[in-house]
């Protein structure tokens, strides 16, 4: 089982959490939406797998490159 770290592309604030731990994730699915510069920027899973953990909560600040979710392939 490969552990995959999903990172935020951008600095901003967590706007919405779209999926929960245990969910099955397909490549291209939106896990989280970050609000930044008045835009809604999706955090997208590049690989499919099972969502192990979402590491942030709504309204949390996130930094560019911060790991925001863990997937297991």
């Amino acid at each position: 089982m490969a552990r995959i770290e999903v990172k935020s592309e951008i600095t901003g604030t967590v706007w919405q959490i779209k999926m929960q731990a245990g969910d099955t994730v397909a490549s291209g699915d939106t896990l989280i939406v970050i609000e930044s510069m008045k835009m809604e920027i999706p955090v997208i899973a590049e690989d499919g797998g099972t969502l192990v953990e979402i590491l942030v909560q709504e309204k949390d600040p996130v930094a560019e490159g911060q790991v925001v979710a863990i997937l297991e392939e």
């Binding site: 592309e9 951008i10 930044s36 510069m37 835009m39 809604e40 920027i41």
Partner: protein, 522 residues
Amino acid sequence: MPWQAEIDELHRRRALAEACGGPEAVARHHAQGKLTVRERINALVDAGTFREVGKLAGKGTYDSGGQLTGFEPAPYVMGIAKINGRPLAIGGEDYTIRAGTGFGSDRRKGGQGGFIEDLAFQYRIPLVNLIDGTGGSVNTAKRKGYTVVPGYGQDGMERSADLLGVVPVVSAVMGTTAGGPAMRAILSHWSIMVKGTGHLFAAGPPVVERAFGQRLSKEDLGGTAVAVDRAGTIDNVASSEADCFAQIRRFMSYMPQNVWNLPPQLDVGDPVDRCEGALASIVPRADRQAYNMRTLLGMIVDRDSWFEIQPGFGRAIITALARLNGKVVGIIASNPMVGGIMDVKAARKQGHFTELCDMFNIPLLLFADVPGLMVGLESEAAAILREGVRARFIGFQVSVPVITVIIRKCYGVAGGGFTDRGGLNFKIAWPSAQWGSLPVEGGVKAAYKREIASAPDPVARECELEAELRALASPFRTAEAFAVEDIIDPRETRPYLCQFIDACQDRLATQLGPKLRAGVRP
């Protein structure tokens, strides 16, 4: 055969050169996951095409009878070869010999000027530098008996600078690189660094520790995370040496041999009239929502023709080489996934890429979704206006055809950078497009401040004014006035652009040659 002894001697000396720094040094080099310069050249170029020059150069030691007893090859290997069937000049330091430092001959083989750079200049063929050298050494003073002023004598960098105006130059950073070789890496049209083994800095960790008492690893100080992604000093990252060679071959496939030739065409059989249905729905109606510009562009350009330059740096802008109906195009596109706002890094990236395409007669396609320049104290202090205006200035001077496709937003100084002010000023738009000096929201507050404040219900008045102005912002009104040349169905983008790129080839063929620039860049 009267010359048998000499011919045998020649082959013996060649074999000595091929041993590089000897079996132990080569084993140490391999253990770090690095190939020798000879292995690198052969892995990069078309099989069997490397013709070496200067293989016998080095330092021989002799016995009293004049017989060769030992030989240290010059730590630079070079010659000509072919990539994708086309000739090029190639060279690289041999790190297994005194870490690839100079060998003190009257004429350099290459690396910082030298024979191979002169050859690329005289023959007008591309140059590839495989850089793995640490530059000057304090030991030079011991050898010479005096110290030299930087830039004295055989500096050679002036030739490296000349080359940038005539032939494509590629640099690959394949080891720890500082000083002269680091400068050489940057004097290129495109550069790449191997992750893990490539490092680049003005001075390495020991010098930094002495100066600041700060302990950093080579990777922390000059690995790809700093030199490529943060600094943009080097353009692209290679995951391995094999990946590095694949990317160099790929980059070269878009380049002409020199500024007097057009870039090579490559027909992959992708139909010109391919219209992807998904283009009609890729842009969300809510303009706060992002979409993937790379996916969008991938549906427009020729199949498998996408090659991104600087993907990790200045990410608000995407710059890529690609093909339309087989012809090379340069693409500059906003990246809504990171907001698309032009910051100093994105401005630098746009200016450099514009100049690269202009130099090699590659027409530019600009795909706009840009809300403006980055605002705020940090951005102002980083000189966003100077960097943004410099990118515009470079844009004013281009001589290649430019076509603008406005996908969504196109606002302000940054938006103007997506239009062609020097040429035809040809702009087409998708129905999702919107533009202006600044967005209606916020813009209304500034322009109608007094009117809003004095209204009985200021909030309602502001909404009214916004609605009024938004009605005028329909792209169809602009098209009626012919202030945008066309609005197209997003699905028609590929056939539309292919036809114009085909049509501009005669223009490109009649403007070949070096491009001299006048003026002082802001």
